[in-house]
Every structure is written in structure tokens, then in C-alpha cells.
């Protein structure tokens, strides 16, 4: 009897903990990402990162987006799975791209074969997942979809995916807000509007001598 009572107590306490955890997760996510200070921190970090990019090659959309995501993940300070996944994936991608480029330079035929194999493997996996998904309830299917959207959550259980989404969405909103503020400032502060003759002129008045 005492054993059962202790088990019940444990279950209720764990349930209480998880309920509190869900609430705490939501509150802390909101507080963390929606604060003004957080957005300013992110903006400054982003500007620093973008300036580093400027010193290098030409700006490409992908690199800007990757830099923005990387800074976002860094701002998260590793507290969530998606942020860690973004940071780790960059390292993996760099190594993978290096290897792939080396292989391409040496033997192009081999790489074609390997990609063909991996495609077949992906197809077969996909077919198997399709057959299984007919048995899965729609909720599971949508949870899998959601997991694929959030970086690093591709094969996580539903609970993890939901928690990650709760943290990821305010972070994305903050990212969008910070970037749009940055764009607005750059366009109103004399960003050059390039006319047809190609001569660059600032759009603001009085800031620069024409």
C-alpha cells in the first residue's frame, strides 16, 4: 500500500512538474525572445557578422541568411535543440562541402554513382514511410512535418518537436523584426538608389553633399 502511495505521489509530482514545465517553457520563451534587449543584442551581433562577410567576397542571399540564422542560434546560447543543430550543421556542411569539392575535382564519375545510390536509398525510405503513414494518425504526420521544418528536430518525438516549436517561433519572429528594422534603417539612411546612368546617389537630403 505504501508502495502504491509513493508511486502515485511520484506520478502526480512528475505530472505537476511537466505541467509547470510546459508553462515555464512558454513563459520563458516569450520573455527571452520578445524582450527589447534581446532584439538589440541580436541586431548588433548580426551587424558585426555581416560586416565580417563584407570584408570577404560578394554578398549572397544564402550567406546573409546563414549568417542571420547562425547569429540567432548563438543568441539562444545553446538552450534549445534547434540552435545547437544550426551551429553543428554549419561545421558539418563545411567539412562535407570540402570533401565533395575534392571528390568532384578528382573523379566526377564516382560522385555521380554515389549520389544515385543515396537517391535510391532515400526513395525506398520514403516509400516505407508512406506506407507507414497511412496507419499513423494525422497528428503524427503533421508532427513529423513540423519536425522537418525546425532544424535538428527531424526525427524527434512529438513532445520534443512541440517544445522546440514553442521556442523557435518567438525566435523567428524576433529575427524577422530585427532584420526588417535593419533593412528599414539602411533604406532611409541614405542607402544609394541606383538610377539608370549607374551613378550612385544617396536618397536622404542633407546628410551628404551631392
Amino acid at each position: 500500500m505504501s508502495l502504491n502511495q509513493s508511486m502515485n505521489f511520484d506520478r502526480s509530482s512528475s505530472r505537476g512538474k511537466t505541467e509547470n514545465r510546459a508553462q515555464n517553457l512558454g513563459n520563458s520563451a516569450d520573455i527571452q525572445w520578445k524582450s527589447e534587449g534581446q532584439q538589440q543584442i541580436y541586431s548588433s551581433e548580426l551587424v558585426h557578422a555581416l560586416q565580417k562577410l563584407r570584408l570577404g567576397e560578394e554578398m549572397a542571399t544564402n550567406r546573409v541568411r546563414d549568417a542571420a540564422n547562425r547569429v540567432l542560434a548563438a543568441t539562444a546560447k545553446g538552450g534549445s535543440r534547434w540552435s545547437r543543430a544550426i551551429l553543428i550543421n554549419r561545421l558539418k556542411l563545411k567539412k562535407f562541402m570540402k570533401k565533395r569539392n575534392e571528390l568532384k575535382r578528382r573523379r566526377t564519375g564516382v560522385t555521380v554513382i554515389t549520389t544515385g545510390n543515396s537517391r535510391l536509398k532515400k526513395k525506398s525510405k520514403f516509400i516505407v514511410c508512406r506506407l507507414k503513414s497511412k496507419e499513423l494518425p494525422a497528428f503524427q504526420r503533421k508532427a513529423r512535418l513540423l519536425g522537418r521544418l525546425i532544424p535538428g528536430c527531424q526525427k524527434q518525438p512529438v513532445q520534443v518537436v512541440l517544445e522546440e516549436a514553442i521556442d523557435y517561433i518567438p525566435a523567428l519572429e524576433m529575427q524577422v523584426g530585427a532584420m526588417s528594422t535593419l533593412v528599414a534603417r539602411l533604406t532611409t539612411n541614405g542607402s544609394p538608389v541606383v538610377p539608370s546612368d549607374g551613378h550612385v546617389q544617396p536618397s536622404s537630403t542633407g546628410a551628404y553633399p551631392n
Binding site: S43, Q51, M59, L149
Partner: protein
């Protein structure tokens, strides 16, 4: 590999994923989503709908980040020629 909604213990074994937890998380998520409708039927929004809205919303946010980064890259590449802009950018911080 738990492909069904797991009523078994998880891999770490400390807590079971109960439906109530999932419902709590889904309601939390629902609060984050932008509500277009005027009246929020907070009790009756099905979980499937919330997940679908979440997927759409995250996709929209990704698209917006993509567009913004494209604009930023264009702005920064055109601005690159002028050095006072760098000072302006720094002063914005």
C-alpha cells in the same frame, strides 16, 4: 522507434508522454500563433489544426527571413562602395 503516439516509456525512462502533456504543449503553441479570426475558440481548436497552422506559420517566417536576407544582401552590396555607410551601420548599434 515509436511511430505511434507513445504510451510507452520514453528512452530516458523518467517520464511518460501523456496526452495531457501534449495537449498543454499544443495549447501553448496555439497562443503563439497569430490569430486571424476575431473569436478564439480556445477550447475547441483541434490539435491537427494547430499543427497545420504552426507549419504554415514557420514556413511563412522562413520565407520572410529569406526575402529580408535577399534585400539585406542587395543593400549591403550596393552600399559597399561608400565608406560612410559603414560608419552609419556601426552607429545604428
Amino acid at each position: 522507434m515509436s511511430s505511434r503516439r507513445s504510451r510507452q516509456s520514453t528512452s530516458n525512462g523518467t517520464s511518460r508522454i501523456t496526452d495531457q502533456q501534449i495537449i498543454d504543449l499544443v495549447s501553448k503553441l496555439d497562443q503563439l500563433l497569430p490569430e486571424m479570426r476575431s473569436n478564439r475558440r480556445s477550447n475547441k481548436v483541434p490539435a491537427n489544426k494547430v499543427l497545420q497552422e504552426t507549419c504554415n506559420y514557420i514556413r511563412d517566417l522562413h520565407k520572410e527571413v529569406e526575402d529580408l536576407s535577399e534585400r539585406l544582401s542587395q543593400l549591403l552590396s550596393t552600399v559597399d562602395a561608400e565608406s560612410p555607410e559603414a560608419a552609419i551601420i556601426r552607429s545604428l548599434i
